[in-house]
């Protein structure tokens, strides 16, 4: 390269227009703008709707007054809180014991146990409810004592019992995963210190183990609570006459077309979720200072008297989960439950049932694929811009905050807010009518994909951000100093190095988009039926067996995608071993 010729010293400052810096700035602005459009504005529209009557006139808090003076509506708050608190207590206890067994004992088959425990993640929660009907419903396996072989027991499934069992199954893997991470992050030296001082086992447990995982416990508690509090699928199937907030929204909007009251119930659903989210964030922020760089990992030593009960516990849980989904699979194959136990694929035909059959199934796959591709690209690029840009601190913090808000948003709230926002014809802004620029999205595949991208945005964003944080922060500067534009380095270095995390995010998007029903049930249109919605509708129509079959198809698809992901990352790992091993 030729040396730059010397020039007069009076070069003006900021002489060079630094195009790249401006491009980055523009992109970050775009990220914030996008999040405002798909999160903030729809939520604002939802809130404002709760202050209007169904004719669109401002009525102040009248809707809220009506809500709190109607016992059938008001009682749902207590009901929702009750089932979520009980679910949380059970889930965190079971999840902690299971996670403890996986991380702190020497039981065999840990990989198998972990895999089985993750199964509920792949299932629509509607299927949890349906499986329960086949177990504990009026004609259930347990209720009828295995088709009359033994005396049966009726647990009174429909209502809180059914909801709590489904939610425990639904939230168990999430709580277990969070607690496993927390339990694994403990410093072995603390245990050595405690041992060296001759502390008995229970004392070490209460003074070292529990304080060490308290943030994980808090997080698992809040996550279980939010999930159980906002879930719609299982209560829809086994809730019976027991009203909870999530099913109330659906009844108000779909059943009575009372959108204003739907908005009010949404606010009631949103408030505790946001509160739990904020508390969790504050607690998590404190944790950062607790992790030490030089911690020694704890390697459990075998102890028979301890390992045996843990093994028994894990076996019971794993068999329960397998049995649970096994019953669902079996029921979907039985000709007429419980009278003709002949096995076959009758219910997988779907002709003559509502819901859309295989068209719905393929639509779901298409939608999940688009959500995975678009969602992964959007979340990873925004995580990159937020993590790897110098300066613009304020804007980056705003983008970060907006990116984690969706974590607190129940799917039903997103769905309802999107109806209000994207279906609006326009707004009067300062007296000028502005037509809705996003209206074209409504009623098509676009809004379905968008709702999924936003619904599962935060976890994906955080996964990407964590992966990016592990990259050397000087990569960007090196490429800048070599005159290579940042987007070249992004594609040549950042993306390849982060590929495992990117694939994980894509799988997460796909699996969740396949299983979710809450957001899309408000947004799908008759020409684009979806598998999860079909499950709900077939179940409504009394076609429980085909609904179950559809649920089994969804779970199988998701497990297949998970296996594909495993194979792909395995291959990738082999290929990248060249540059990761010394």
């Amino acid at each position: 390269m030729a040396a730059t010729s010397p020039r007069a010293a009076a070069a003006p400052r900021l002489a060079a227009f630094d195009g790249e810096r401006w491009l980055r700035r523009a992109l970050i602005l775009l990220v914030s703008f996008w999040l405002v459009c798909v999160v903030v504005l729809p939520l604002a529209q939802l809130l404002s709707k709760s202050l209007l009557n169904n004719a669109g006139q401002y009525v102040g808090l009248a809707n809220y007054v009506e809500y709190f003076t109607t016992p059938s509506l008001r009682n749902s708050i207590g009901n929702s809180l009750f089932v979520s608190v009980v679910t949380t207590l059970i889930t965190v206890t079971l999840g902690f014991t299971f996670a403890y067994a996986l991380t702190r004992t020497c039981i065999p088959l840990k990989g198998v146990f972990r895999g089985v425990a993750m199964m509920p993640l792949f299932a629509p929660t509607l299927l949890n409810g349906i499986a329960l009907i086949y177990l504990f419903g009026r004609k259930g396996l347990i209720t009828r004592g295995f088709f009359g072989a033994i005396p049966g027991i009726d647990i009174g499934l429909y209502g809180p019992v059914g909801i709590i069992i489904s939610e425990v199954i639904f939230t168990f893997p999430q709580a277990m995963l969070i607690l496993s991470v927390a339990l694994r992050m403990t410093d072995a030296r603390l245990y050595e210190a405690s041992d060296s001082m001759g502390a008995p086992g229970w004392r070490t447990f209460s003074t070292v183990t529990i304080p060490g995982v308290k943030y994980g416990l808090v997080s698992a508690t809040f996550v279980s609570f939010i999930l159980a509090f906002t879930d719609f699928g299982a209560p829809k199937v086994v809730g019976g006459q027991f009203g909870i907030l999530a099913t109330d929204i659906y009844k108000q909007v779909i059943g009575q077309q009372n959108f204003s009251m739907g908005a009010v119930v949404s606010v009631a659903l949103l408030a505790p979720a946001i509160l739990a989210f904020i508390v969790d964030r504050i607690v998590q922020r404190k944790q950062v200072s607790l992790i030490q760089a030089k911690s020694t990992p704890l390697v459990p030593r075998p102890r028979k008297w301890r390992d045996a009960p843990f093994l028994a516990f894990c076996l019971v849980i794993a068999l329960l989960i397998l049995g649970f989904f096994g019953v669902a699979a079996y029921a979907s194959l039985v000709k007429v439950w419980p009278y003709e136990l002949e096995l076959g694929l009758w219910h997988y035909d779907f002709t003559g049932t509502g819901g859309g059959g295989y068209a719905a199934f393929w639509n779901s796959i298409r939608m999940s694929f688009y959500s995975a591709v678009i969602g992964t690209a959007v979340t990873f690029v925004s995580a990159y811009l937020v993590e790897k840009t110098n300066g613009m601190r304020a804007l980056r913090q705003v983008s970060y905050f907006l990116s984690i808000i969706p974590l607190a948003l129940p799917g039903l709230v997103i769905g309802l807010a999107y109806i209000f926002f994207f279906n609006a014809r326009g707004w009067n802004i300062l007296g000028v009518f502005t037509p809705n620029p996003f209206g074209w999205l409504y009623g098509g595949m676009g809004i379905l994909v968008l709702s999924n991208v936003v619904h599962f945005y935060s976890v994906s964003f955080l996964t990407g951000a964590t992966a990016l944080k592990q990259l050397d922060k000087e990569f960007e500067m090196v490429s800048e100093s070599l005159g290579v534009p940042f987007y070249v380095t992004f594609f040549r270095v950042t993306v390849p190095v982060c590929l495992p995390a990117i694939l994980e995010v894509a799988m997460y998007f796909f699996v969740n988009s396949m299983a979710t029903v809450s957001a899309v049930i408000f947004l799908y249109s008759a020409d684009i039926p979806l598998a999860s919605v079909a499950i709900a509708n077939m179940d409504d129509a009394g076609d429980v067996a085909p609904a179950c079959a559809m649920g089994v198809l969804v779970i199988l698809t998701n497990i297949l995608v998970r296996i594909l992901y495993g194979a792909l990352t395995g291959k990738l790992r082999k290929k990248t071993q060249a540059w990761t091993t010394r």
């Binding site: 390269m1 040396a3 010293a9 050397d472 090196v478 100093s481 070599l482 270095v493």
Partner: protein, 366 residues
């Protein structure tokens, strides 16, 4: 270009703030073409910020940076033609050493053959011929460092900037690479600035050292100047070690006294007030067992004898009258120490050569 050889790089009155914190305060210095400068200072003194301002990775709030007489203050790093070697090397892990070195070349060279030749040349320069096909993870720390160096020099930069380039390496590799980096910059006539917190690194590699403290330039000069004539107690204690004694200076008789302890000072110092701090390096303190007389000879008690391999360090106490003592460290070659055979609680004769005693105004802080 010759007209700018004396001020190839000029940093003029640069100030940089991060919110309320001032990282750099009115720093000025210049470098000649081909000169190797080292910025040295304790952590948080602003040395890395200084390097980043020169690189264009940070923009200063006030002041200017001139390269070859041209104001580059407004130019981003990509337009300043500087090569940077980062502390972590920041080698791209998913591409080979060759591809790392070639990373910036694709923009300026058209043909693949040309790029290949240049990469071969660079790899040879850093003694890594034949290693180009390996990934960074397969190279040793020292080899990674060389790849980073080759990559930084690929575009024939106007200036080579090194941010603690050796701090992540084993002691032996570090010493070897010190010599190689200096030899390389000399051979290519490269002007280089290296940030380090290792004084030995700065003393052995740099033509001139900039000592920084709290965002300000404490002293600039050749290594021997800084060691021999530190401008402040801070510099004196930061580079090497130093004994300090506070007391009063009588400028007429050139006598410094601390309590009853009085000594002559013969160094050429511009007089200031009476309150003063005298300082002497431990290796300048002469210790002997037999009775010597003359200027600045004192009787001292030996408190501790510390073995340090090639040298011994004695902790001594100088009586200052009224039962008071002043601590003093002395260093001597192991051979001499063995011959004299000091032991704790013994006494020794100590000479503080009047020509080796430094003087600072009191209140300058250490």
């Amino acid at each position: 270009m010759s007209e700018h050889d004396d001020e190839y790089l000029a940093v003029c009155n640069v100030t940089k703030r991060f919110g309320a914190f001032t990282a750099l305060r009115d720093v000025s210095f210049s470098a000649k073409k081909g000169e190797f400068l080292s910025i040295l200072g304790p952590s948080g003194c602003g040395k890395t910020t200084m390097l980043r301002v020169v690189a264009g990775l940070e923009r200063q709030d006030e002041g200017r940076v001139l390269l070859m007489g041209r104001d580059v203050s407004g130019l981003p790093v990509s337009k300043r033609h500087v090569g940077i070697v980062f502390q972590s090397y920041a080698l791209f892990p998913n591409i080979t050493a060759r591809a790392n070195v070639a990373y910036g070349l694709k923009n300026v060279m058209k043909s693949g053959r040309e790029i290949n030749e240049r990469v071969d040349e660079l790899l040879k320069l850093v003694d890594l011929s034949g290693m180009g096909g390996k990934y960074p993870g397969q190279l040793s720390g020292g080899q990674q460092q060389r790849v980073a160096l080759a990559r930084a020099m690929a575009l024939s930069p106007n200036l080579l900037l090194l941010d603690e380039p050796l701090s992540a390496l084993d002691a032996q590799v570090r010493v070897m690479l010190r010599g190689e980096i200096v030899a390389l910059t000399r051979r290519l006539g490269l002007t280089a600035i290296m940030v380090t917190h290792d004084q030995e690194e700065a003393l052995t590699m740099a033509d001139r050292i900039l000592i920084m403290k709290d965002g300000e330039l404490a002293q600039i000069g050749a290594p021997s100047d800084i060691y021999e004539s530190p401008a402040s107690p801070f510099v004196a204690s930061f580079i090497g070690s130093m004994n300090f004694l506070s007391g009063v200076m009588d400028w007429e008789s050139r006598t410094f006294s601390s309590g009853k302890l009085a000594m002559r000072v013969e160094r050429d110092v511009k007089p200031f007030g009476a309150e003063a701090v005298a300082a002497i390096r431990p290796e300048d303190v002469l210790v002997s067992a037999n009775g010597e007389t003359g200027a600045n000879v004192f009787e001292a008690r030996v408190d501790k004898v510390e073995y340090r391999g090639p040298v011994y360090r004695l902790s001594l106490r100088l009586p200052a009258g009224g039962g008071e003592f002043r601590p003093l460290l002395a260093e001597m070659a192991a051979e001499k120490a063995r011959r004299l055979g000091f032991s704790p609680a013994s006494t020794a004769k100590v000479i503080l050569p009047p020509g080796r005693v430094h003087l600072f105004a009191a209140g300058q802080g250490a």
